[in-house]
Symmetry: C2
Subunit: 470 residues, 2 copies
Amino acid sequence: MTPITPLDQIRTLLGSSGFLDQPQDKEPYEKPWRGKDFHGKAALVALPTSVEQVQKIVKICHHHRIPIVPQGGNTGLVGGSTPDESGSEIVLNLSRMKRLRTVDPIGMSVTVEAGCVLASLNDQLAEQNLWFPVSIGSEGSAEIGGLVSTNAGGVNVIKYGTTRQLVMGLEVVLPDGSLLELLSPLKKDNTGYDLKQLFIGAEGTLGVITAATLSLVAKPTAYQTAFLALSSLEHAPIILQKAMHRLREYLVACELVPRLAVELVCKHLGATQPLQNPTDYMLLLELSGTCEESLLSNLLQGFLEPLFEENLITDGVLAESGKQRAQLWHIRDHISEAEKKEGAMVNFDITVPIDHVPAFITEASTAVSTLVPGIRILPFGHVGDGNIHFNLLEPTPLAPTAFLTHKPALKKAVYDIVHRHQGSISAEHGIGRERKGELATYKSTPALELMRTIKQAIDYYGVFNPGRVF
Amino acid sequence: MTPITPLDQIRTLLGSSGFLDQPQDKEPYEKPWRGKDFHGKAALVALPTSVEQVQKIVKICHHHRIPIVPQGGNTGLVGGSTPDESGSEIVLNLSRMKRLRTVDPIGMSVTVEAGCVLASLNDQLAEQNLWFPVSIGSEGSAEIGGLVSTNAGGVNVIKYGTTRQLVMGLEVVLPDGSLLELLSPLKKDNTGYDLKQLFIGAEGTLGVITAATLSLVAKPTAYQTAFLALSSLEHAPIILQKAMHRLREYLVACELVPRLAVELVCKHLGATQPLQNPTDYMLLLELSGTCEESLLSNLLQGFLEPLFEENLITDGVLAESGKQRAQLWHIRDHISEAEKKEGAMVNFDITVPIDHVPAFITEASTAVSTLVPGIRILPFGHVGDGNIHFNLLEPTPLAPTAFLTHKPALKKAVYDIVHRHQGSISAEHGIGRERKGELATYKSTPALELMRTIKQAIDYYGVFNPGRVF
């Protein structure tokens, strides 16, 4: 008699449509959605359709100490949702659990399963004029469980916060297979520790999120979008401070766009430079609201006039239609893609306090230029949160492989400067496998120890996403 | 030779001005700021002035298993910050640690020590036109450490969230005396577990908060305040939904005020009924913003007109000056005080989903009237968050002591209905000692178990606030 292996138990539990174990079937789940790193081998890809199935799988794995890699849309950028090379890990993909369980139009919340894709969620909410306001590039693939597990950020954080601020409740299968039901449409609940917070941003190391109650907003009815040429990078924090005092209620995005980024998008993706007189750094500033467009337009124009007078900005355009707005966002949204077409890159996703942004960019630019003369530097992104994607492109003459040999030195140089500015080495992408080493270097010992204490207390067999984060 | 006791070590450490151990000196720290319950006896009241002193006290207590009760302004309502009757607990009062360490006007944050009083913080921030937007009745006494430890709510939660949403970083002395430095002015930081969340709302059971980095906003420059007579309680959620769609950016408060509450404030505290034709339930609705007053005024009037046309409201006044606004808030803010002058009370601080508020109030009113015929019912407060202070007043003829004998039955009846409506038995006041029994009854077993796991992992000797929450 052949003994029934734990994997057989899982196969039986899920039925033939509920798992993948052939190499060609597993492969899409073994590598990230974009990027070439972190392509591993899974023992099995489990595709459960119910919380009960998830619990049973987790119990089997817990009992047999089989490592589990929770996976959603697999759009993460730090190797947190793909299996390692060992072939011993099970991918627990939640994509088939994608149901909207309840929508509360009065309390403005939705309870949705982890596998629902962000764009699909918002499509389904649109008819009730409701919106889950996390806006990220991968919204067509990213799933709710992954958004919550990585505390996704994006371009709307100034107005709506990160995913954490929008999670009202969670349903989690714990490492021993028990169900922690914390789904809740309540805005206030001070009954003991706020346990859901543990699982938000935990990158699947403490259990698997199977559903979430999310806070919704009314979909904005009006937008005003400006593209502004800064006379100096130093002026970005000053403009931001003014905006937070005078436009706070409607300010939804403030993105830094360097001249080189616009040029690359124009070169590789057919966009047009929006400004007649671009400067080294530009700002994409957007207001949104559930109000008349004229209200926003008056506010924005009243805000911009003194900026010209004070010479904080030297050129600018306002989008006068949805099409023009889309053209401005097209440039911002395609910077990464254009960079990739230009050559090999070393990327960062850091935060520093907003008033440190200019100094950080200046110092880090000097440091990396010393290491790699001619390196091309593209600091862009969410300057409104102090979150800069400090991306580095190879100098034209170098071959990609040669450039990438500098990656460790570039990382050390940039992270040391981030650390000196009280910054974070990962603003929104997380730690995963990519930044484990840096976390150990830059996080304080008491914080790391407390993280390990919590991991050990909850996932005492170390079954959930081992080797990620820690 | 007399052995040196642990209390002697603490006395020596703090010096004569740093502790209180005479009964008359300790007494103000042994009883809550308001209310008569939870008046205990402290072994010693420690009044440290530095984080280092706090660490040393905690190390001594940890070593000798001496229970510690962290205390701020002592304005809590659930017995979480006063010592028990045993006389063995040390009160660790942080009031002398009240320094603003840094203000970041660009990133709009402040790092402040735990003992700073909320009103004092805002006074010090006012000159920079900054504001920490937690608004609670006890702001003249409540301290930052307590606000964070209890995740304070208040009247502005619709716009700004609870305290949790405004905490960017914390400094915590852990139960073993080690320092967890998580102060941070960053809006985005995905480097591992968000450890600060554990201590927010933990009611001092996992360590003591010594400082916090708080998110600030520009102080509003304009307000519009309306007092509206509802034609039916059923209309409150409908009006709220409309407001969340049309006024979201500026909506800062939506408070339910029953007719009886207005009458009691008029009777005991000399206010005037604002409406010519009051109804059973009224709404205090407020907009605030950093904009022109005319903008808010136009928005509010445009919002209210159809409410009259649809007969959702039947009467209303708009505050036309700061003085009139203050008069409306005077009524709202003095409901509790007026109730106390009227007789014995049994109070609740519950949340239900907003669309369940009318059904909850109806069902709970029926249930308590059955238990105590003639009972007077005052459901008031933060209906915009579903958070109702469902307060019960003795029927006039009964003596207070007789009324209070019904307290256990009234609590059970109301909490059972809250639970059936997926509500919370403590919206903003916390658990402390007051609601321990109910927490054990209404919280799910897996959630309670996980809470205990965390408590055991972090405070393994059970030194911090033992017997509170659990």
